[in-house]
Symmetry: C2
Subunit: 401 residues, 2 copies
């Protein structure tokens, strides 16, 4: 009858009622005769609370110890979910990351999965047990606990689906699917029946927090169809897959990202190698640079602007300030007061005029564009933060209705 | 310079301040040049809260899943303690039970330690790391997490001291030593400088909740001197060891135990084998029977009374009711309204008249004795619960002043 992997996020197991909701979803699938492996996140705000507890003791705890600390959250939720399934009268076993065979690289806090040693899970499935796996964690070759970083339980689920050749990977969450835009901001937002991996990747990177990016990359790599479904009501969600059926929509979605700061290096010498120096410096500090804009050289100098996530601003600014003399730059300009609005859709590749229509929609709202970035399936603009909501609605409604 | 094992209980790491207190005690010892291995309990009420959370989901969760759940508590506190030690600038690593090499028998909830595979700990000590071990847990041969039952972190500490041949095992707690009686009940209670393992075992079994009994048994077996010390103030505590220096005291301590119920089987046939049947039946249910009293046979019948812990009452009564016909008993009588008061001391072996002096003290207070039990170093009486505090004070002051 095959095997299904299900994943329940933190809000889907946040309290006793939600734990039983999840348990009923799991046991209903089990009763239909399929093998079930479940990945589960820590309950509700547990991870945040543990981070806060550590921060009060030590503002810069080691990543190794943070992994020991945080992985306990998923261990707790996996046991509670198993205990609920026992209460419903079904055979179940919970496994921590190391018990489930997740072997990762050695870097703590954002470890990549090397392999899953599936013997234990397969053994439990042979005994007809429902298997609950604590998400977001594994062990490295030193036998230390590692975690996959935020949203890592999605990655756990997809990796399990790939390793166990599951026929389906269902991501249960507190939304009922992937929308063309955040329904809390855009009133005309529509739920999508299907979306491609690439489109989902772009949307996820833009702040549509439905799926963790690494999990979508992995699903794409192993061609595992993901289903994003509501843990609260029983209705079809959104399928994330390689190829989607033809739809009229050019654009699959629009998104706004407030987690962005613009940094500008002013008065750089207009000579080769400067951009390389800057971005290799930032890469060395593991800073994710997004939109990059280089001014045309004038009077022998030029400016380079780029965006970084808010939480990486301080590290970036510190690194750049130190390097100012060696870069030959005059000053750094910092603009916190911005946001990024983007449209995503494979359809735009073959449709000229998409960018023009987007810019027109913004112009109609009298919104000034500070920076532009385009890819084959995405157009992003950096605008003032105060214009974000109006811009997102305008752009969304220009393409989707 | 040798190695010291330290153990910090739940109250000694219950909040940020206490965690730093513990961290400073640990690093002070480390700075003196010794190797340090620490066993730590879950913070404050964590274990109770996790038990309550599980109970709300399932009144009878499996012991396997409870072990997964509860062991997370010690994992969290071990990481937080390590994070505090990092903040103080010392090299440290936390290890879960399985990482620390605790291999146990397979029974969940009260697993016995089979061995400690010390390679990992020794490796960390060779690197001059302070090693924090999550208490109360190990893994069994199936690779499943097991726990040692309540107070199991004491057992972790003593087992570590034995396996690593520690020169000392210090139990840090919220009291400053072992007293001749509970100071909250007996105003004349005195702190002991030393006590033997056997005396400590009797006191612990009687409800002096300073040390977990299994840990004292293990310390006795491996002849490891335990020091019970305050985690709050720096002063000498109590040493628990094989032989103590001569003291004038006949009696090492007095204790009251409210966790006791008297069951009586009435009208048993007065023939051989009945007691064997009853107590093998109870042993099969893992019920700890304490004081046993058998009436003199009369009219061909006799009564057998005995005490059991409060939380085992229901199981015991259920098992006995089922067996009533086969035992040939008429009825079971249950008395919840009792407590046990005891005196303990190796000195009483060679001193006749100790029992008489105890009974006289109770008689002076007009307290009726329901049952009596004696051993070489202990005399216990069962009395009405309401008389407990008066009895304890009277008995204590009759011997210790």
């Amino acid at each position: 009858m095959g095997l299904i992997v299900q994943k329940f996020g933190g809000t889907s197991v946040k309290d006793k009622e939600r734990v039983f909701n999840a348990a009923r979803t799991i046991t209903a699938a089990y009763e239909s005769g399929t093998d079930i492996v479940v990945a589960v996140s820590a309950q509700g705000k547990t991870t945040d609370e543990l981070i806060e507890k550590a921060a009060q003791i030590n503002p810069k705890p080691s990543k190794r110890e943070m992994d020991v600390l945080l992985s306990a959250g998923e261990q707790i939720s996996s046991a509670l979910l198993a205990i609920a399934i026992e209460q419903l009268g079904f055979p179940v076993v919970s496994l921590t990351g190391w018990q489930a065979g997740f072997v990762t690289r050695s870097n703590h806090g954002a470890a990549r999965i090397k392999r899953i040693e599936t013997a234990r899970i397969k053994n439990e499935l042979d005994k007809r047990n429902i298997v609950i796996v604590a998400g977001f964690q594994g062990i490295n070759r030193f036998g230390d606990i590692t975690t996959f970083g935020r949203g890592g339980s999605d990655t756990t689920a997809v990796a399990l689906a790939a390793a166990l050749k599951a026929k389906s990977c269902q991501i249960y969450t507190d939304v009922d699917g992937v929308y063309t835009a955040d329904p809390r901001i855009v009133k005309n937002a529509r739920k999508l029946d299907e979306i491609t991996f690439d489109e989902m990747l772009e949307l996820a990177a833009l702040g549509a927090q439905v799926l963790h990016n690494r999990s979508v990359e992995m699903a794409k790599k192993y061609n595992i169809t993901l289903e994003v479904v509501s843990s609260l009501e029983s209705k079809p969600g959104t399928k994330v897959k390689e190829v989607v059926s033809m739809e009229k929509m050019l654009i699959r979605g629009a998104a706004k990202d407030d987690n962005v700061v613009r940094l500008s290096l002013i008065g750089l010498p207009d000579m080769p190698g400067i951009a390389f120096k800057i971005f290799s410096l930032l890469a060395g500090k593991h800073i994710n640079v997004d939109i990059i804009l280089q001014s045309v050289g004038r009077d022998g100098t030029k400016d380079i602007s780029f965006t970084v996530p808010v939480d990486q601003k301080d590290i970036a600014v510190e690194a750049l300030k130190e390097a100012l003399p060696s870069l030959g730059a005059q000053t750094i300009d910092i603009d916190d007061n911005v946001c990024k609005v983007s449209i995503v859709g494979a359809g735009m590749q073959s449709n000229p005029g998409v960018a023009a229509r987007m810019f027109e929609a913004l112009y109609d709202e009298n919104i000034n564009i500070k920076m532009i970035s385009t890819s084959e399936i995405k157009i992003s603009v950096l605008i003032e933060a105060k214009d974000g909501t109006a811009a997102l609605n305008a752009v969304h409604d220009a393409f989707i209705n």
